[in-house]
C-alpha cells in the first residue's frame, strides 16, 4: 500500500513538473541553407532554456509564404523579400516585416587544373564572361593577363553550377549581376537562373563531383566545403582592387564593409562590398519576423532567442560552414530586435 501511494506521488510530481516545464513552442520554416546551423542552435538553446523550436527546412520561397500566411513564428530566407512580397505581407498581416541578417555565407570559385595548382586570380568581369560562355579556354588572353606567373593550359573550360534553387546561387548571381552589365541583362539574379552554358548538378556535392571528375571544370561552392575538402579555389579581385583569398575573416569583412551604409531595413545584398579586405562573393541569410506579434508569450520567447542567436550563437558558425556576423551587424540586428512589439507593447 505504501509503495502504491509512493508511486502515485511520484507520478503526480512528474506530471506537475512536466506541466510547469511546458514552455512556449516556436515554429519556423524556410531556407535549407540555414538548416545545419539552425538545428545546432535550436538544440543548444533548448538545453539552455527549455524553449522548443521546430524548423521545417522547406526552402526560402516556402518560408516566405508561411510567414506571410502566419502559420509560423519566423521565416528564413537566403534572399530578401521583394517589395511586392513585403506589400503582400503588410496587407495580410497588418504589420511590417523585419529582416534580420542571421548568418553569413561565402562562395568559393573552385576548379580542376592539376598542372596549375592553387590560387588562380580572377576578377568579376572575367568570371561573368566564363559563365556567359564568352571565355571558353583556360589560356584565354584575359585569364593569362590576370595570371602572368601561372602557366595556363590550352584546355576547354567546363562550367558547373547548382541545378536546384539555392542561396549559394543567389549570392553568386548577385555578384555577377553587379559586376557585369551583360549578365544583369541576360541572366540576372535569383536562387536559380537560366544559365547560358554549363552543367547543372544537384547540391554542393554534385558541383564538387563534376569538378573533381572533369579536368578544366570550374564551379562555385560554399566556402567551408571547399576548405574542408582542400579544393583549389580562385583568388578574387574585390571592389577596392585587391586580390582576396576566401576565408571566414574576409567574408565577415565584407559585411563589416557593407555595414557602414547598410539600408535601414537591413535588406543588404553585400556582394562586391566595399572594404580593403572584403571578399566579394559573400552574402547574408535572413530571418524574417513580423514587427508586431499578437501572441505575447511567443513574441517574448522569439525575441529572446533572436538576441541570443545574433550574438552568442555566432560562435557556432565557423564549425558549420558559415561565416559569423561582424560586431557592427550584430549591433544593427539587436536594434531591430528591440523594435519588435506585441500588440504595440515593447518587449
Amino acid at each position: 500500500m505504501k509503495f502504491k501511494i509512493l508511486s502515485l506521488a511520484i507520478l503526480f510530481a512528474g506530471l506537475f513538473a512536466a506541466f510547469t516545464l511546458a514552455q512556449v513552442k516556436l515554429t519556423g520554416a524556410g531556407s535549407t541553407f540555414d538548416y545545419p546551423i539552425f538545428s545546432k542552435w535550436f538544440d543548444t538553446y533548448n538545453k539552455m532554456t527549455g524553449v522548443q523550436i521546430n524548423y521545417a527546412s522547406i526552402g526560402s520561397g516556402g518560408g516566405i509564404q508561411q510567414i506571410t500566411a502566419g502559420t509560423v513564428d519566423f521565416g528564413a530566407s537566403d534572399a530578401p523579400l521583394t517589395p511586392e512580397q513585403m506589400k503582400t505581407f503588410k496587407e495580410k498581416r497588418g504589420t511590417d516585416i523585419i529582416h534580420l541578417p542571421i548568418i553569413m555565407g561565402g562562395v568559393a570559385i573552385t576548379y580542376n587544373l592539376p598542372s596549375v595548382g592553387q590560387g588562380i586570380k580572377l576578377d568579376g568581369e572575367t568570371l561573368a564572361d566564363i559563365y556567359l560562355g564568352k571565355i571558353t579556354k583556360w589560356n584565354d588572353p584575359r585569364l593569362v593577363k590576370l595570371n602572368p606567373d601561372k602557366k595556363l593550359p590550352n584546355k576547354a573550360i567546363l562550367v558547373a553550377h547548382r541545378s536546384e534553387g539555392s542561396g549559394t546561387t543567389f549570392i553568386f548571381t548577385s555578384y555577377l549581376t553587379k559586376v557585369s552589365p551583360e549578365w544583369a541583362k541576360k541572366v540576372g539574379n535569383s536562387t536559380s537562373v537560366n544559365w547560358p552554358v554549363g552543367l547543372g548538378a544537384k547540391g554542393t556535392e554534385g558541383v564538387a563531383g563534376i569538378i573533381a571528375q572533369t579536368q578544366g571544370a570550374i564551379g562555385y561552392i560554399e566556402l567551408a566545403y571547399a576548405k574542408q575538402n582542400n579544393l583549389p579555389y580562385c583568388v578574387m579581385k574585390n571592389k577596392a582592387g585587391n586580390f582576396i583569398d576566401v576565408n571566414f575573416n574576409t567574408v565577415s569583412e565584407a559585411a563589416a564593409g557593407a555595414a557602414k551604409n547598410m539600408p535601414k531595413d537591413l535588406r543588404a545584398v553585400i556582394t562586391n562590398a566595399d572594404g580593403k579586405n572584403s571578399y566579394p562573393i559573400s552574402g547574408f541569410s535572413w530571418i524574417v519576423v513580423p514587427k508586431d506579434i499578437k501572441d505575447y508569450s511567443h513574441a517574448e520567447a522569439l525575441v529572446k532567442f533572436l538576441r541570443w542567436a545574433v550574438t552568442k550563437g555566432q560562435a557556432d558558425a565557423t564549425s558549420l560552414y558559415y561565416a559569423p556576423l561582424p560586431k557592427q551587424v550584430q549591433k544593427l540586428d539587436l536594434e531591430k530586435i528591440n523594435s519588435i512589439t506585441s500588440n504595440g507593447k515593447k518587449l
Partner: protein, 336 residues
C-alpha cells in the same frame, strides 16, 4: 454405374443453387445488393468507398494543381507548352517545351534500349527457359526494379558518366563525325547518360509484364502451331503476334515509369533547359525541374509555373498509363 451416381450428385447441386437463388430474391436489401447478409453489405459499401476515394484523390490532385497554377496559366496560356525559355530571374518567362522535349527524348532513348532487351528476356523466360532457370532469372530481373533510384544515380555519376566521357562518347564522335546527334564536347553528363540510366530502370518492368502477357497466351495456340510442323521460332512469332497489344501495353508502362523518373535522371542529365539534337548535350526533364527548383522558388509566378509543369507531367503520365492499361486489358480479355 459411376456415371449415374455423378449425374445424381450433379442434379442435387443444381437443385441447391436454384433454391438458394429463390431464397435470395426476397427482401428489400437484396433487390439492391443481391444479398441479405449485413456483413456483406457493409463490406461492399466500405470497399466501394475506398475505391471511390482513390478516384477522388486523383481528381482532387488535378484540381489542386490547376488552381495553384492559375497565375501562370493566365499569363502564358497555351504558349507555356511551346515556349522554350525558362528564365526565373530577369524576364520571368516560363516555357515548358525544353522539359517536355527532354522528358520525351530521354524516355524514348531508354525505351530504345530497354524494349529489345526486355522483350528478349520475356520471350526467353516464357517460351524457352527450362523451369528450373525461369524462377531465379525472373526474380533477378525483377530485383532491378527494387533498387532505389538514387542508387542508380550514384552509379551513373561514378561509373556510367566517366565511362561515357572517356570511352563511348569519343568513340561515337570518331565514328560519326558529321552526325548531328554526337556534336559538342563529351562531358559524360547529358541526354545519353539519362537514356542509358532509364533503360536499366525500365527493363524489369517491361520484361516482367511482357512475360506475364506471353504466358497468358493459351498453350493450345502453341500446341496447334507445333502440330502443324512449325519451328520454335515460328511458334514464338505466333505467340508474339497474338500478344502484341499486351506487349505494347508493357512498353507503355515502362514509358510511364521513365517519364516520371526524377532522382537518377537529374543526377546525370546535366540540368539545362535547352533543346538540342545532340545526345551529348545536357538537357532537362519535367520531373527534375520540379525536384530541383520547387523548394527555392521565391516569386508567385515562378511557383505557379512549376505547379503548371507538374500538371502537364501529371496529364501526360495519366494518358500514357491509361493507354497502357487499355492495351494490356484488351489482350487479356481476348483469351478469357
Amino acid at each position: 454405374m459411376d456415371i449415374v451416381k455423378d449425374r445424381e450428385t450433379f442434379e442435387k447441386v443444381q437443385d441447391y443453387f436454384k433454391k438458394s437463388k429463390e431464397k435470395k430474391s426476397s427482401g428489400f436489401l437484396n433487390k439492391i445488393l443481391g444479398t441479405n447478409n449485413l456483413g456483406d453489405i457493409i463490406f461492399e459499401r466500405l470497399t466501394l468507398l475506398f475505391a471511390v476515394l482513390v478516384f477522388l484523390l486523383v481528381v482532387f490532385m488535378a484540381w489542386e494543381m490547376y488552381s495553384h497554377s492559375t497565375l501562370s496559366i493566365k499569363q502564358f496560356g497555351w504558349k507555356f507548352l511551346i515556349n522554350s525559355t525558362w528564365d526565373p530571374a530577369v524576364t520571368q518567362v516560363f516555357g515548358a517545351l525544353p522539359m517536355i522535349f527532354g522528358t520525351m527524348l530521354s524516355s524514348f532513348l531508354g525505351l530504345l534500349i530497354a524494349v529489345p532487351l526486355g522483350l528478349s528476356v520475356a520471350v526467353f523466360l516464357s517460351e524457352l527457359a527450362p523451369a528450373w532457370l525461369e524462377k531465379p532469372l525472373s526474380f533477378l530481373t525483377e530485383l532491378l526494379a527494387g533498387i532505389p533510384s538514387v542508387i542508380y544515380g550514384l552509379w551513373g555519376i561514378f561509373v556510367l558518366v566517366p565511362w561515357l566521357r572517356d570511352t563511348v562518347e569519343p568513340f561515337l564522335q570518331n565514328e560519326f563525325p558529321n552526325s548531328p546527334f554526337f556534336q559538342g564536347a563529351p562531358y559524360g553528363f547529358g541526354m545519353l547518360a539519362a537514356g542509358l540510366i532509364l533503360s536499366i530502370m525500365v527493363l524489369p518492368i517491361i520484361s516482367s509484364i511482357s512475360r506475364d502477357v506471353l504466358k497468358s497466351v493459351p498453350d493450345t495456340q502453341r500446341e496447334a502451331a507445333f502440330a502443324l510442323g512449325a519451328t520454335r521460332w515460328e511458334v514464338t512469332k505466333i505467340v508474339l503476334s497474338n500478344a502484341r497489344s499486351g506487349l505494347f501495353g508493357a512498353i507503355m508502362l515502362g514509358f510511364g515509369r521513365a517519364i516520371g523518373e526524377t532522382m537518377a535522371v537529374t543526377m546525370v542529365i546535366g540540368n539545362r533547359a535547352q533543346i538540342s539534337a545532340s545526345l551529348l548535350d545536357p538537357g532537362y526533364t519535367m520531373a527534375s525541374v520540379l525536384a530541383n527548383e520547387f523548394t527555392e522558388a521565391t516569386t508567385d509566378l515562378y511557383l505557379n509555373a512549376l505547379i503548371e509543369l507538374a500538371l502537364v507531367l501529371f496529364v501526360i503520365t495519366i494518358i500514357v498509363n491509361m493507354l497502357a492499361h487499355l492495351l494490356v486489358w484488351s489482350t487479356e480479355r481476348k483469351w478469357k
